[in-house]
């Protein structure tokens, strides 16, 4: 597939502070990329650089095969949707949508047909004559998306577009954005700190930390084969269990408890200090635990019923371990129970470098 956005060795420094550090990213045509990371990781900065709202210190940005590193935002073929919607408060919805086209001096009939098409797609036709203050949060964000839509751009940029909405509306709009992407097939770059949004929307997720992309892969791989401790810890809620110990000849030993790693796909035969990561949902209790390659007897400490499932806290070799059980399983604090997991489904990291081994 053709490359839509290409970022080459991009750096951005504020004085001595490196916000982005020699970053490379290739985004295919029509791909939905999510930039995910904690606040201050540089994800919004990267998006602003792609949009042309920030000057880069080094490197190049190519959009649709054109080097746009020094171009003005309007000449880059991008549309952008902001967290605060950023609608022009004194203009009606219609004039908000058409502002960019009027600035570009487009003929009136063309403007009208484009506004009409965008408002049909987003179902905001009844709102065209209203001012932004008369709209709800969800409607405002739809208008903001429409403003990018009318300009008929190649690349859509979303800067945490759902963060100001309440939980229910966020779910609805998330689905709508996905539907919009399937219909328009534009390249979309989406910044968020919400891992649910990232997992559900993305073709590929780029997890960022300190201005560096830690892992760039599809959501399934990111979740199941995190490349380092940071990614493993950041993705997943409740987060992954980490057991500290030593790895020798395919057996992981933590505080005297040996865990045979079985069919785990090691590269080579690494030994030494290691961290074993197990997702809470891979830890089984009761009858299910009997089928697991590794089993142990443990005591339940805390139980958190979530409705659909129950999260319980227990210990293994003196280290805290969370597990997710079906809501129907009756778990009580103080209860002794058989717990088991398949170590091959876990992730092993080098304790010093933090990288997956």
């Amino acid at each position: 597939m053709a490359t839509s956005v290409q970022i080459k060795d991009l750096s951005l420094n504020y004085g001595a502070v490196k916000v982005l550090d020699r970053l490379n990213l290739d985004i295919a045509d029509g791909e939905f990329i999510v930039l995910l990371g904690p606040s201050g990781c540089g994800k919004s900065t990267l998006l602003n650089c792609i949009a042309g709202l920030l000057d880069v210190s080094e490197g190049q940005i190519h959009i649709s095969g054109k080097n746009v590193t020094w171009e003005e935002p309007k000449d880059r073929g991008i549309g952008m949707v902001f967290q605060s919607y950023a609608l022009y408060p004194q203009m009606t919805v219609e004039r908000n949508l058409s502002f960019g086209l009027r600035v570009a001096g487009m003929p009136k009939p063309e403007i009208e047909s484009r506004v009409k098409r965008a408002s049909e797609i987003l179902q905001i036709e009844p709102l065209l004559k209203r001012k932004p203050v008369e709209l709800s949060g969800g409607q405002r964000q739809r208008v903001a998306i429409g403003r990018a839509l009318v300009r008929d751009v190649d690349v859509f940029l979303f800067d945490e577009p759902l963060s100001n909405l309440d939980a229910k509306l966020r779910n609805d709009l998330r689905v709508e954005i996905k539907r919009l992407h399937q219909r328009l097939k534009n390249t979309m770059i989406y910044v968020t700190h919400d891992q649910i949004e990232a997992m559900t929307l993305a073709d590929r997720i780029a997890i960022m930390k300190n201005g560096v992309i830690q892992q760039l892969d599809n959501p399934h791989t990111i979740y199941n084969k995190p490349t380092n401790l940071f990614v493993a810890d950041f993705i997943g809620s409740p987060s992954m269990n980490f057991l500290k110990g030593d790895l020798a000849d395919g057996t992981f030993t933590t505080n005297g408890v040996s865990v045979p790693m079985g069919s785990y796909g090691f590269v080579g035969s690494p030994n030494g200090k290691a961290v074993l990561g197990i997702r809470p949902e891979h830890v089984q209790v009761g009858e299910d635990a009997r089928k697991m390659p590794f089993q142990f007897e443990s005591e339940i400490e805390i139980v958190e019923p979530m409705g659909a499932e129950t999260v319980a806290w227990t210990t293994l070799a003196g280290q805290s371990l969370t597990l997710r059980a079906d809501a129907e399983v009756d778990l009580q604090p103080g209860q002794k129970i058989l717990v088991g997991f398949d170590p091959a489904r876990g992730s092993v990291f080098n304790a010093e470098s933090g990288n997956r081994i």
Binding site: E72, K74, A86, Y88, V103
Partner: protein, 306 residues
């Protein structure tokens, strides 16, 4: 009334009853006394302006006029003597109008553009520029009077003479001296607007002027009203700049009022002086009354001006 509601009557239910507490009575008593205290001088002025001289000399200052007359108001407006001329305050009023109507829009437009550029179009050294401009608000203007006289007199006009002592001269002086505080006002206002609005406009392809006129200006109406209030009252009440820079032809109302009050030959005609003073203060007073809540914001914003 049913039995159920009567039992409810004992327990708190429904809206909380409003009680007149001693604290509330105290607050109102204080406010009323304060209002009377500040209104007394105005009342005395109005009463005095309608009494002839012998009534003022003979009676109590709070006494109502026996034969109320507006003659002194007419005299103050059109025939009181300021030095050798006896045209009353009217020429001063029109001079003040000219100065205010020119200097207010000029200073506001310049400051608005300054504030907009300093908030959104940051450039190398823009913070320093802003710092210098704000520093200007704290320089006592008296120390600048002589340098400005010198500067204005060195600008030769094509039709002869210099800028010193002309209408453009005084307008320039007022515009420049209004800029530090107004730029601060507008910069802080623009800085409070969401930065994403500016980014969105840039993505939409708008440039410096387009963003200013289409996006920022329509949002700045409230702060502009505050700026107008600050500038109108400030320029109207000015005395020293008008006296020094306006020239004999353009002396503002405040300077003429001073001349009327000072040049009484023989008896001091209190009635005319009172009427003239109220006339001069009328414009800022009207601005205060009409602007209402905006005025309060103006005071808050102008608190730095002192």
């Amino acid at each position: 009334m049913s039995a159920a509601t009567t039992t409810y009557g004992v327990e708190p239910s429904g809206p909380k009853p409003r009680r007149v507490t001693p604290a509330r009575i105290g607050i109102y008593a204080f406010l009323i006394v304060a209002a009377i205290f500040f209104l007394i001088p105005l009342a005395v002025m109005i009463l005095t302006s309608m009494k002839p001289m012998d009534e003022i000399r003979g009676g109590n200052i709070f006494a109502l006029p026996l034969n109320p007359t507006l003659d002194y108001w007419v005299k103050a407006w059109s025939s009181a003597c300021t030095g050798r001329d006896c045209n009353g305050l009217a020429p001063g009023f029109f001079n003040s109008m000219k100065i205010t109507l020119l200097a207010v829009p000029i200073s506001i437009i310049l400051s608005m553009l300054n504030g907009y550029a300093l908030s959104f179009w940051r450039f190398r050294g823009s913070e320093l520029m802003f710092g210098l401009l704000v520093f200007g608000a704290f320089v006592p203007f008296q120390v600048l009077v002589y340098p400005i006289i010198f500067a204005l007199s060195s600008v030769k006009l094509p039709w002869g003479g210099t800028l010193f002592g002309t209408l453009p001269g005084i307008v320039i002086v007022h515009s420049i001296f209004g800029m530090p505080i107004l730029t601060l006002l507008f910069r802080n206002f623009f800085a409070s607007l969401p930065g994403e609005l500016f980014k969105a406009a840039r993505v939409d392809g708008a440039g410096f002027w387009r963003i200013f006129f289409s996006v920022m200006l329509p949002m700045s109406v409230p702060i502009t009203i505050v700026a107008v209030i600050l500038q109108v009252t400030g320029i109207w009440n000015d005395f020293i700049f008008g006296l020094v820079f306006a020239g004999r032809e353009n002396l503002p109302m405040t300077v003429q009022l001073n001349n009327i009050v000072r040049t009484s030959t023989g008896t001091v005609e209190y009635s005319t002086n009172m009427a003239a003073t109220i006339l001069t203060g009328a414009v800022p007073l009207i601005v205060y009354f009409v602007s209402g809540k905006w005025f309060v914001r103006g005071i808050a914003a102008g608190a730095v001006k002192g």
